[in-house]
């Protein structure tokens, strides 16, 4: 196992790449089913309206038309919300609008034709008459008696009122405080924008009753369960969901969406395949959005800068309906993160989940943790300024000490492991912190405004364990499956319930298996994304694939080796305890020539001519691994920016990231995820904003209006790692898919506000666009 160069930990080139760089990937829109029809959706142009009538007569006689269905035809169960908070109201979310529309883009009818062009023409002919109603967009305004209501039985549009922590203790902490910093913070709405738009193709076979759905999903089994059992009401085992190559998810491909169900329903109704691919405008209007919090946050300190308490009140905008994980993201993925990397004796957080006439919100890279981290890290910088301390010093003073792990926070989490000082020190050294501060001083004298921004963050990956999640309202388990099939030739196929949509599991999981078995990677293949071959799995979200999916694979590996050892011992006529497994073979301790290679044992397992008494033939194992706890990556990011106060333009000069994601299977892949993650968070800090007007029209509904980060706006990143293995899983990994996003938004925001300190600007809400910066500087100068 411990050979000179281990596969675990090596920067091995990805085996999925050859198909992608030659144009041979298979994404959902590339799937061409014989005889397929094409769907286009008629969508609401209103944010809130009563549907007076839908006339489909003209559309039904358009050239190439196959069928038109409305909410009256498509009678199914509502789209589910899979996390039930105490007292939560989950108004039904129909597949196609029933009586009312509640956000711009909500599907009203599905138009199906022989070609996508014909379907689009026919969709133009569907005549929907609406009676517009007043719209509510701002979640604080929507949360009022006088506000227009989306649902008759959801007063004040409040879906839930959730809290965590100790209110009385926190209030007391504030009474004892020497210094209190307080800030209203907007965490603006974001739109995910995976570059591959959502797509689905359903094919129903009337002869057998089997339904196959190809869909851009991060969790095909969950999609199958929810769609078959809860929405369509058909036997789950008669449905197969395939999520082939998927072009990025970032959370937006977790939920079950209207269109996926509609094409399934229509394919059953028509007995023909039905396919739909979103146009980018539809992605903007109907992919689950993220964030959108309005928060009042305050932190109490003693004179020396020690944190005494943290109090948070958040209005979370859920959109018009609860998306699949819409209730989880602003509650349990948010409040429990509020201790950050700091010792905070008392925390109280209250969250109102409010429905508005906007697209439903759900997970978006980081999902709750960026919202929490942005708030904590902004308050730390505000406090440093108030206390007249260096932001580094204030952070160090409050870090949870390395000898306090596992650490119980006042908001439910028990942190698995951590050592925050070294990551911070490494980042400071890389950026040359002291020198940077001097340069900043000098530059200011020359009328140049440099800013240095820190963020010392915590992340929580791989939600766990299932029993606790269940007690907290989860309608699903949080485990992962792994089927390891060893073939008679010693080749291994790994069927993982995790799903890769860019993460590179085909490579990393093969590394993990080949490393543990001591066999060449070429002997290992990884299969994912098809409920037809993979055992039930939970898919990929919350940076869980390595920690939970990887641990499931590891568990199967141990069982395979256990059986293999028994067979080898039998064949070698040795005691099991005398065998050593190394370099792909079992040998008798002290006499390395008496050995059986992995492949020989595999063959014997299938020949079954000479197995230990009572042993079943074959060599394959399925494990379901339920994690005992989350893992908690952490680190320090430092951004150095230059702000032009005359134009409000921000230039990122340097970006240093030191992350601790536990053990690393493939450093190249982890670095890549960190780069992408940082960029996503930079986008939130500086440019991205899913903006609605007061009428509920999405103002940023194209890539022209919604500013995604581009290559020429970014620097190359300087990355490094510290390694604090996680003790909660057998492979010591934590998770790396979202750390960058969680860390970078506050690092950039803090840097920009640090640059503007000479003007007395203390806070600007995200995104820090040139116009906002310019206005803040102008207002401060007055």
């Amino acid at each position: 196992m411990t050979t000179a160069t281990r596969l675990f930990g090596s920067a091995i080139k990805r085996r999925e790449d050859p198909r992608f760089i030659t144009g041979k990937g298979t994404y959902v829109d590339d799937v061409k089913l014989p005889g397929t029809t094409h769907a286009v959706f008629v969508r609401s142009p209103h944010a809130h309206a009563r549907i007076k009538s839908v006339n489909t007569a003209k559309a039904k006689s358009a050239p190439g038309i196959v069928a038109v269905f409305t909410g009256q035809d498509v009678q199914t169960g509502p789209l589910p919300c899979a996390w039930l908070l105490p007292g939560i109201k989950i108004p039904p979310r129909p597949v196609l609008a029933q009586g009312k529309v509640r956000y711009v883009g909500e599907p009203v009818a599905i138009v199906i034709a022989e070609s996508a062009y014909a379907a689009k023409d026919a969709a133009e002919l569907v005549d929907v008459q609406y009676e517009p109603l007043p719209a509510v967009v701002d979640c604080q305004k929507a949360h009022a008696k006088s506000a227009s209501q989306l649902f008759d039985d959801v007063p004040e549009n409040q879906s839930f009122d959730w809290s965590i922590g100790d209110k009385a203790k926190t209030d007391d902490a504030f009474k004892a405080a020497a210094v209190v910093v307080k800030q209203r913070l907007v965490n603006q709405r974001l739109i995910t924008n995976a570059i591959e738009p959502r797509a689905c193709a359903a094919s129903y076979a009337p002869a057998t009753g089997d339904l196959t759905l190809w869909v851009t999903s991060q969790n095909p089994h969950v999609a199958r369960l929810l769609i078959a059992a809860f929405v369509l009401g058909m036997p789950e085992h008669k449905m197969r969901v395939i999520a082939p190559d998927v072009g990025g998810g970032f959370g937006s491909k977790i939920p079950v969406y209207n269109e996926e169900v509609a094409v399934c329903w229509a394919s059953k109704a028509l007995g023909r395949p039905v396919k739909w691919t979103a146009e980018r405008r539809e992605s903007f209007l109907t992919d689950a959005h993220g964030r959108d919090h309005l928060t009042e946050a305050e932190m109490a300190f003693d004179r020396s800068g020690k944190i005494l308490g943290f109090r948070v009140a958040t209005h979370a905008n859920l959109g018009a309906y609860l998306s699949t994980m819409g209730s989880l993201v602003p509650s349990y993925l948010y409040g429990p993160l509020l201790s950050g990397v700091y010792t905070i004796p008392a925390i109280f957080c209250r969250v109102w989940g409010v429905l508005t006439n906007t697209a439903p919100t759900d997970a978006l890279r980081g999902a709750g943790r960026p919202e929490a981290t942005y708030m904590i890290e902004r308050l730390m910088d505000l406090a440093a300024r108030t206390l007249n301390m260096d932001p580094v010093e204030l952070r160090k003073k409050n870090f949870i000490p390395a000898d306090k792990f596992p650490y119980q926070t006042p908001v439910a989490f028990v942190y698995d492991s951590g050592n925050y000082g070294p990551a911070l020190d490494k980042a400071l050294e890389m950026v040359g912190y002291r020198k940077m501060r001097e340069e900043q001083e000098k530059a200011r004298k020359n009328g140049q405004y440099l800013g240095i921004g820190l963020s010392t963050y915590i992340e929580a990956c791989g939600p766990a364990p299932s029993s606790v999640a269940g007690a907290l309202g989860a309608q699903a388990g949080l485990w992962e499956s792994a089927l390891l099939r060893v073939h008679p030739t010693g080749m291994v196929t790994v069927f993982t319930g995790s799903h890769s949509h860019g993460q590179g599991h085909e490579t990393t999981f093969a590394q993990l298996v080949a490393d543990d078995l001591g066999i060449p990677m070429e002997q290992v293949e990884v299969v994912h994304g098809d409920t037809g071959s993979v055992p039930f799995g939970m898919g990929t979200y919350g940076s869980r694939s390595a920690a939970v999916g990887g641990s499931a694979i590891y568990t199967s590996l141990q069982k395979i080796k256990e059986k293999g050892r028994k067979i080898a011992a039998h064949l070698l006529e040795a005691a099991e305890g005398d065998l050593l497994y190394e370099g792909g073979k079992w040998s008798v301790k002290g006499s390395p020539d008496r050995a059986k290679a992995f492949g020989e044992v595999a063959l014997m397992a299938y020949l079954a001519h000479n197995l230990p008494q009572g042993m079943e033939p074959g060599l394959e194992v399925t494990s379901f691994y339920d994690p005992v706890n989350f893992t908690f990556p952490f680190g320090t990011h430092i951004a150095v920016v230059e702000v032009d106060p005359e134009t409000g333009h921000v230039k990122i000069l340097r970006y240093v990231a030191v992350d601790d994601v536990g053990k690393v299977i493939n450093p190249m892949i982890v670095d890549g995820m960190v780069h992408g993650g940082i960029t996503h968070g930079v986008g939130q800090a500086l440019w991205e904003w899913g903006a609605y007007d007061d009428q509920g029209q999405l103002l940023s509904a194209t890539m022209m209006d919604y500013a995604l980060p581009k290559a020429d706006q970014l620097p190359s990143y300087e990355t490094a790692r510290t390694v604090t293995p996680s003790p909660v899983n057998p492979i010591g990994v934590k998770g790396a898919g979202e750390t960058g996003t969680i860390a970078s938004t506050p690092a950039i925001a803090n840097a920009v506000l640090d640059a503007l300190a000479p003007f007395g600007v203390t806070h600007i809400d995200l995104p820090l666009t040139p116009s906002r910066i310019w206005q803040a500087v102008k207002a401060a100068k007055k």
Binding site: K13, R14, E16, D17, P18, R19, F20, I21, T22, G23, K24, G25, T26, Y27, D29, D30, K32, A116, Y117, N193, A194, I195, E196, P197, D245, V246, G247, G248, F250, T277, E279, R280, R281, H501, G502, Q503, G504, M668, I669, D671, G672, M673, H675, G676, G677, I678, T679, H680, T702, M703, M704, L708, P709, K710, A711, D712, L714, S716, Y717, G740
Partner: protein, 157 residues
């Protein structure tokens, strides 16, 4: 009202009757069946559909198939020659210039034109030239490295 068009894609001649409104990207993907060219935005902002048309990098979601009549087209499927990866493809593989792979064909073709015009581009030049190609996965960091790798390789360094 269909019109006959003739194009050469990756050295192979095609001739089809198409609707005048058919977008070139749909022609390539759905009529010819080369699905390596992707659609990310259908509004010429993301660059996923970048191809070379008569040697020029263009976004084929914003061109009609009939406008391409008589053109020579290079798509991602034609970039490798005789089973050998092009240095740009190699660069993306070596330097981990892709994750989900969806933007990748467009990135590779944008880089193809860049390196034709400027065989030894600076980092700033590379970043500037990728301004019309969006990637949500990589943060561009390794895409820049991939193109630098290709430039070196193509210069025989």
């Amino acid at each position: 009202m269909k019109r006959q068009i003739k194009v050469t894609i990756n050295g192979v001649g095609y001739s089809h009757e198409v609707e005048p409104r058919l977008l070139l990207v749909h022609y390539i993907r759905d009529v010819v069946g080369l699905t390596g060219t992707h659609i990310g935005c259908d509004t010429s902002q993301c660059g996923a559909c970048t191809i070379l048309l008569n040697g020029m990098a263009i976004k084929c979601c914003t061109m009609l198939a009939v406008q391409a009549d008589g053109a020579e087209i290079l798509t991602i499927e034609g970039v490798a020659k005789d089973g050998h990866l092009h240095p740009i493809q190699e660069g993306f593989w070596e330097k981990h210039g892709l994750q989900c792979g969806y933007c990748t064909p467009g990135m590779i073709l944008a880089a193809y034109q860049l390196l034709q015009r400027s065989p030894n581009p600076s980092e700033a030049e590379i970043r500037h030239n990728l301004e019309g190609n969006l990637c949500r996965c990589t943060g561009y960091h390794n895409i820049v490295k991939s193109i630098q790798y290709a430039a070196q390789k193509m210069a025989g360094r």
